[in-house]
């Protein structure tokens, strides 16, 4: 048994150096060379400033923007570091609501949000993704139905026609890969950037 001590130490250190340092560092170098933008986090710049990442959702509250899904992310309470406060789309602390199917808190929240949306657009069924929080709290997407649902509000706030907005939503809708994998979706940040460009014209 004693002769197993040396490999237990040396082999562990060698394999740790290979898998824990050499491998991730080499991959960082290679990935950075082949996919520089993606390796950095697919950042979007506007007028020289980073406005976000193409993959990370951000909070939209203004009527003139399409809104993303509710987010359950938290941040440390500035007044008491042992507590947390809601901080939607906090990309430094991802997470979901973790409320279960029989949660009263969830039922109350859903009802409140559904009522609000029904008041905003009484003519369409409320899409489920627009009132449920995502797993990461950073979901960059909404369903095409959720984008359609918001057309009247955005059109009114921007003084644009619903038809021109509809075309914008359609051109920002991604479909299933090979018609099979994933779900149809709209990237909210990309859509809102396109919206700003269209209004500026």
């Amino acid at each position: 048994m004693l002769r197993e001590i040396r490999p237990a130490i040396v082999l562990l250190l060698v394999l740790t150096a290979i898998t824990g340092l050499a491998y991730p560092l080499a991959m960082t170098g290679i990935a950075g060379a082949i996919f520089p933008a993606k390796a950095q986090g697919s950042l979007i710049e506007k007028d020289g400033k980073v406005v976000g990442s193409a993959l990370i959702g951000q909070e939209f509250k203004d009527d003139k923007y399409f809104h993303g899904r509710p987010s359950a992310t938290l941040a440390p309470d500035p007044n008491d570091s042992t507590k947390t406060v809601p901080a939607p789309y906090n990309a430094a602390n991802s997470g979901g609501s973790n409320l279960g199917p029989t949660s009263k808190a969830l039922a109350d929240r859903l009802k409140e949000d559904v009522d609000k949306l029904k008041a905003e657009n009484p003519n369409a069924a409320v899409p489920v993704d627009l009132v449920t929080t995502s797993a990461s709290g950073l979901d960059p997407h909404i369903s095409p139905e959720a984008a359609q649902f918001q057309l009247p509000r955005v059109a009114k706030a921007r003084n644009m026609s619903e038809d021109s907005l509809k075309a914008l939503v359609a051109s920002n809708t991604e479909s299933r890969l090979l018609g099979l994998l994933g779900e149809p979706r709209v990237n909210v940040l990309a859509l809102n950037l396109a919206l700003d460009r269209a209004s500026a014209k």
Binding site: G20, S94, G95, G100, K104
Partner: protein
């Protein structure tokens, strides 16, 4: 449920079955010490590693020596993780300036990663530095996976060898697994993941100004290199708190699909390695069939339950299934499928929040883990777990006809059955025992996030996941408390090593036995009858063990939900 949904599930199964044979062929070469197509590059490195660490690759080990070597290896792994976590504030690669991790949390995390559990009581991006992610966690993602595979191979050798005292050399098996199997796949896989948008950088967290003018700090890091091995090695520990639901940790539908494939790939291939080593690939296919039956049943229930939604959603007229805690790009089907895969294997990565699943949809992941994660299972661990059930099923079959049971040419006798029972019984002792404490001890009760039966399920899920070395969670439960850090660590430790040691004892005792040729009285173990028998034994033992606990949790919650009760 939709046609497109079922097509995704069928495509997934077809790809796994198609990969089983070629991967099994390659892995058999690796563990038989043969030349592979990568040998010209890797052999010099391998030989160099043996030379500096003083390993004689020709010398094989007795099962006990093999096990002790494995345990020593883990002591070192534990110390490395614990050390870098405690010291991270003064070590490099810490752009976010994370402070030292607390003692109990470091202890829990170190146990968690050496046992291939990757239970996370910390949020990755808010707690630990890049160095800890790489040197502490990525390295153990490789080595705990390699250990699991090595142990499974040693047990297979127990079945395939006759009248021998040794079961292989642990150091050689771990080194070859790391160099020839895990690393080459991970290199290619990492680049694929980055091509999908996964970050791989040592740079600072990004400060963005959103379109509405708010500040957003975006956590990045060397994500892809860790995620590759996290999935391939069924580790499951997320770089980020939200794990594979985080858009950076699973950017596209394609990255999601490939991640699901990589969870099952090596575990399924090991059934083929088993078949090849015992000289009849059909033995391997029979085992994969047992796994397949249980898997499809689980997927069907979870997919149905999630697509159906909850009574709360129905009351409000919301259709489209239970989207609380799910991402739009994955939707209902890819989230349900992922949840069943990750708990059938002992992966534990999640792309949706299991805590927000419907009662029945969330019960299937729980059952998968309580059955011992033998449906493909963790890399290595799944196969040796399944072989324990096979031993038991063969024993039951032997009792029925009054004949000494045999399996692949080996007599299954009292010692093997006792060891198999020990391994199978110790798991419920851990998760049922600790759950009983967790739901009455006041400091533990405060950790529950949901009230009513769902709170009970959160606790049961935590200890089941820890014991099964899964690592997924009903994440509402506050796990980073002194009570949970210690009790979950104990469940992970016992769940891993009290399973391994009996399995290795079986390996040793089988290797020493003579091989007997099949006769007219031998129960054939490649047909439908055998598959049915093993499935039956698994469900009976499983059902008797944990049905009462399920009745108090998800089952009563489902009934309460249908009766319109909220908590």
């Amino acid at each position: 449920m939709t046609m497109i949904g079922w097509l995704q599930i069928i495509l997934y199964c077809v790809i796994i079955v198609a990969l089983t044979k070629p991967l099994g062929w390659y892995m058999t070469q690796v563990f038989n010490g043969e030349k592979t197509f990568l040998s010209p590059v890797l052999r010099p490195i391998e030989a160099g590693i043996y030379w500096v660490s003083g390993v004689d690759e020709k010398r094989e080990q007795h099962w006990l020596t093999y096990t002790v070597a494995m345990l020593l290896f883990h002591v070192g792994g534990f110390l490395i993780i614990y050390g870098v976590m405690r010291l991270q504030a003064v070590l490099p690669f810490n752009p976010a300036g994370q402070g030292a991790v607390a003692e109990d949390l470091s202890f829990n995390t170190a146990i968690s990663f050496i046992t291939n559990t990757n239970w996370q009581n910390y949020g990755g991006e808010s707690t630990i530095s890049y160095l800890v992610q790489m040197l502490g966690l990525t390295h153990q993602n490789f080595l705990s996976a390699a250990t699991g595979i090595a142990l499974a191979v040693a047990l297979i050798r127990g079945f395939s060898r006759a009248s021998m005292r040794t079961v292989g050399n642990f150091w050689v098996d771990v080194t070859r697994c790391t160099l020839y199997v895990l690393l080459p796949i991970c290199v290619v896989y990492t680049l694929f993941l980055v091509s999908q948008g996964m970050p791989q950088t040592l740079g600072d967290y990004v400060e963005a100004t959103t379109l509405e003018g708010a500040k957003q700090t975006i956590a990045v890091g060397p994500v892809a290199s860790q995620v590759a091995v996290k999935m391939l090695g069924t580790n499951g520990g997320g770089f980020f708190n939200a794990n594979a639901a985080h858009p950076f940790e699973n950017p596209t539908a394609l990255s999601n699909f490939v991640q699901m494939i990589s969870i099952f790939a090596l575990g399924a291939a090991l059934t083929n390695v088993f078949g090849r080593m015992v000289g009849n690939q059909r033995q391997g296919w029979a085992i994969l069939s047992v796994m397949g039956v249980l898997f499809i049943a689980g997927v069907a229930v979870t997919y149905w339950a999630e697509a159906d939604g909850t009574s709360t959603l129905h009351t409000l007229g919301l259709t489209g299934g239970n989207m609380e805690g799910k991402e739009v790009r994955f939707g209902i089907v890819a989230s349900s499928l992922f949840a069943v895969i990750t708990t059938a294997a002992s992966c534990g990565a999640v792309n949706a929040m299991h805590d927000s699943f419907t009662a029945l949809g969330g019960m299937i992941p729980l059952i998968n883990m309580q059955l011992g994660e033998i449906i493909v299972g963790g890399v290595g661990a799944g196969l040796y777990g399944m072989l324990l059930f096979v031993v038991l099923a063969i024993f039951v079959a032997g009792l029925m006809v009054g004949r000494t049971p045999e399996y692949v040419g080996k007599k299954i006798e009292a010692r093997e059955v006792k060891m198999a029972m020990l391994a199978i019984l110790v798991l419920p002792l851990m998760y049922l025992g600790w759950t009983a404490v967790g739901v009455v001890y006041p400091a533990a009760v405060a950790s529950m996030a949901n009230a009513g039966p769902h709170g009970f399920t959160e606790v049961l899920y935590a200890f089941t996941s820890a014991t099964g070395n899964n690592g997924s969670a009903f994440a509402g439960l506050t796990g980073n408390t002194f009570f949970y850090n210690l009790t979950l660590a104990s469940a992970m430790f016992v769940g891993r090593f009290f399973m391994i040691v009996p399995a290795m004892a079986i390996a040793g005792s089988l290797a020493a036995k003579k091989s007997i040729p099949p006769s007219a009285g031998t129960f054939p173990t490649t047909g439908g009858l055998f598959v049915g028998l093993v499935v039956g034994v698994i469900l009976i033992i499983g059902g008797l063990t944990f049905f009462p606990a399920l009745a108090l949790g998800p089952i009563v919650e489902h009934l309460a939900m249908n009766a319109g009760n909220l908590f």
